[in-house]
């Protein structure tokens, strides 16, 4: 997948955690981003899942290590384990469910209190396909109530956007179903990660030690493991 025309670009790993209420579409967003796929009526995530996906920027490649967490309340104890040392967080709510934005705000507050200082947080309103703005949904139904068949939106763009600006978050409205804006979220996060915190591992301390981490990191698959390089095209 390396862009052979441009030769090898510097590659860095970014740990990203997904948070949000159950059934807002966290896993679907990841599935869309990683596999460009969507499953209707997807089973709830149990515990958490770990996936990786690369994001090619003009000058570098970001490899996202994505920790998709379960949204159910009983899994809340998992979150600290995931956002510890995370450089980015995607906090998701459902545009058609105001309580999910309340929950999202809780996560943002917790991240600001507990996660690595300097973490890049993106607030994402998902399920845009259920609203009039949804790409592809024939939306000429103008409705004051906003809850007729054409438009299930219950959280206005304005409200979420204002909140995001106040808290210094990236903000997007997406549809994991149609794929609208999904790649854009991840690209925006990749661009927002400070250059200084890349190349090295994660977190704030690492960000100041930029560029040295590679020479420091001890590779356990080092010289003694002959399989470490299998599949290498070099």
């Amino acid at each position: 997948m390396a862009d052979s025309a441009n030769g090898p670009k510097p590659s860095s790993s970014v740990k990203l955690v997904l948070l949000g209420e159950a059934a807002v579409g966290k896993s679907s967003l990841v599935l869309r981003f990683v596999n460009n796929d969507f499953q209707e009526n997807k089973e709830p995530t149990i515990g958490a899942a770990f996936l990786t996906q690369k994001c090619n920027l003009p000058t570098r490649t970001i490899k996202f290590e994505i920790w998709d967490t379960a949204g159910q309340e009983r899994f809340a104890s998992l979150a600290p384990m995931y956002y510890r040392n995370a450089q980015a967080a995607l906090v998701v709510y459902d545009l058609t469910k105001p309580t999910s934005l309340v929950k999202a705000k809780h996560w943002v507050a917790e991240l600001q209190r507990q996660a690595s200082p300097g973490i890049v947080i993106a607030l994402v309103g998902n399920k845009l396909d259920l609203t009039n703005d949804g790409s592809g949904s024939g939306g000429d139904a103008e409705s004051a109530g906003g809850d007729d068949l054409g438009d299930a939106r219950k959280v206005s763009t304005e409200e979420a956007k204002t909140y995001s600006e106040e808290e210094g978050l990236l903000f997007f409205e997406t549809s994991a179903k149609t794929g609208f804006n999904v790649t854009e979220v991840f690209t925006a996060i990749a661009n927002a990660i400070p250059e200084t915190s890349l190349k090295s591992a994660r977190g704030v301390a690492a960000s100041h030690a930029a560029g040295r981490a590679e020479e420091q990191r001890v590779n356990l698959n080092g010289p003694r493991d002959p399989n470490a390089k299998e599949g290498c095209a070099c």
Binding site: M1, G47, F50, T52, P80, A209, R217, V218, G222
Partner: protein, 501 residues
């Protein structure tokens, strides 16, 4: 929370210290229903790593008679206190830029723990850093002078090049290093077995004609807490040290996980189990249990929920414990760069250095000689445990009267030795005593009890044995012939870094 009570759990694991977390990792692909809880609001149990704020609440919890952390309720720490000298406390950065490890341990490159982390693929989520030089700090002969740091040569090439050792002594040391390589086979065994239970220092003196100073070099490499390690144990540890040298890169024998050491391994292991479907609950302990009525036991949790499980795995809290070591964690307002130079050219830059005050080199304020060694682990900011421009010292010595005073004095003496012109300051000190307990596991019906690990400065592979016992206990017959800790990468988690090399 209903489904918690509706499920019949295959195992409830209580506590997220290293043993329980490794068990969680071992069970992460077993398909078993696992509920993993911890009475604390943080992961890692006795191996946790804390921000300054967390350290403060932890200190408070130790003196709270109702807290499960209190030593009288089974906790393994006590007598904790924090001091921040007024004059320099402004050097402290914000709470979360620190991650203070409660039980920092080096992991030797040949440790089975690393092999298990690799075979289980958990290592992909951990950054390992090199542990660099070992130093001896020598008290000045003249009280007006400052202490001196001397690096311990730990390979034969090193000994050869060392200027600190007289030529005659080098010969004895070379002979010893050669001996240790094959110490456990004939004819070497004949040389040491008669002395197996005698102190290592005595063996070194008698068999290798080593003088006191060289003896302290060797004993320091064993990280023996009281300096009185037996010949049998000492030789085994020196052998481990020497055979670990260079395994993952030139010039170092041990590694340390970034972001708080063992605590990071515990969290990664728990994550792996969560990905496998386990349910995690912090701030939840066991209030009461009922066993013996059926194949399942009933546990009443502290959050009011009652759950049914076939097995309970926990730490043996009823076992008697005794205070083993006193620890002092000190934040220094200097990066102490001179300690973290690469030992060999081209090697990884180390993030940890080990410094020892040999037995008898410190004195209490009343002039009493301190009969034990004091070990100092210096961690650079590359460990992620403190901000850039600072460093952390972790000091350990056996716990008796005066331990605290001796540790505080050791910090000052060390700082004076490391930079004579501009002596760095200790801007924060966390003191506590660490208890140790039973050695083996204990099974009581459906309850498997892990032993309370004894404090140690390097990871001891015997910890892994009890984890495996617990794994066998939970899996039952399914454990027969099953691979242990051998997993494939999960889909989507493939490491493809080589494409960019």
């Amino acid at each position: 929370m209903d489904s918690l009570s509706d499920t019949i759990w295959d195992a409830v694991i209580c506590g997220t210290g290293l043993q329980q977390s490794l068990l969680a990792l071992a069970l992460s692909r077993s398909g078993k229903n696992i509920l993993h809880i911890d009475p604390n609001e943080y992961y890692g149990g006795p191996e946790a790593a804390f921000s300054l704020q967390e350290a403060e609440s932890w200190v408070a919890s130790l003196s709270d008679p109702n807290s499960q952390n209190n030593a009288s309720n089974g906790g393994v720490f006590r007598a904790a206190s924090i001091t921040k000298p007024e004059a320099t406390s402004s050097a402290l950065k914000f709470s979360r830029s620190y991650s203070l490890a409660l039980s920092p341990q080096l992991i030797h490159s040949r440790s089975e723990l690393l092999a298990q982390l690799v075979s289980s693929r958990a290592h992909r989520q951990i950054d390992f850093l090199a542990v660099g030089a070992f130093f001896i700090i020598k008290a000045p002969e003249d009280p007006d002078h400052k202490a001196v740091l001397t690096r311990i040569p730990s390979t034969r090439e090193d000994v050869f090049l060392s200027k600190a050792i007289p030529v005659k002594a080098k010969r004895g040391l070379m002979k010893f290093l050669k001996f240790v390589v094959d110490y456990d086979s004939e004819p070497q065994t004949e040389a040491w077995q008669p002395h197996a239970d005698a102190p290592l220092t005595e063996f070194l003196r008698k068999e290798f004609k080593m003088e006191a100073e060289l003896q302290t070099y060797i004993v320091t490499l064993t990280l023996s807490l009281d300096g009185r390690i037996s010949t049998r144990d000492g030789l085994a540890i020196i052998h481990r040290h020497l055979s670990s040298m260079g395994v993952f890169g030139p010039g170092f024998a041990a590694i340390y996980p970034k972001w708080g050491g063992i605590s990071e391994i515990a969290q990664v292991a728990c994550r792996a189990c969560a990905v496998g479907g386990a349910v995690y609950m912090l701030g939840t302990g066991i209030k009461s249990m009922q066993t013996g009525y059926s194949a399942e036991m009933e546990l009443e949790l502290t959050n009011g929920v009652t759950v049914k499980t076939r097995r309970l795995v926990q730490t043996d809290e009823s076992a008697s414990k005794k205070v083993v070591v006193s620890r002092l964690v000190s934040i220094i307002d200097s990066p102490l760069n001179s300690l973290f130079a690469a030992v060999v050219e081209g090697a990884q830059k180390p993030a940890v250095a080990v410094i020892a005050f040999p037995s008898g080199s410190l004195k209490t304020s009343t002039g009493k000689t301190w009969e034990f060694p004091v070990y100092v682990f210096a961690h650079s900011s590359d460990t992620g445990e403190c901000p850039v421009g600072q460093s952390i010292l972790y000091l350990t010595t056996p716990s008796i009267t005066d331990s605290k005073e001796v540790l505080e004095q050791a910090v000052q003496s060390f700082l004076g030795a490391v930079n004579r012109e501009q002596v760095p300051h200790s801007v924060y000190q966390l003191y506590y005593e660490h208890l140790g307990g039973s050695a083996g596991s204990r099974t009581e019906g459906q309850v498997f009890n892990f032993p309370t690990a004894s404090p140690s400065l390097s990871f001891n592979d015997s910890t892994l044995k009890v984890v495996r016992e617990a794994w066998r206990e939970v899996l039952g017959e399914a454990a027969t012939g099953a691979d242990y800790m051998v997993f494939q990468d999960r889909e989507g988690a493939v490491d493809d870094e080589e494409m960019y090399d």
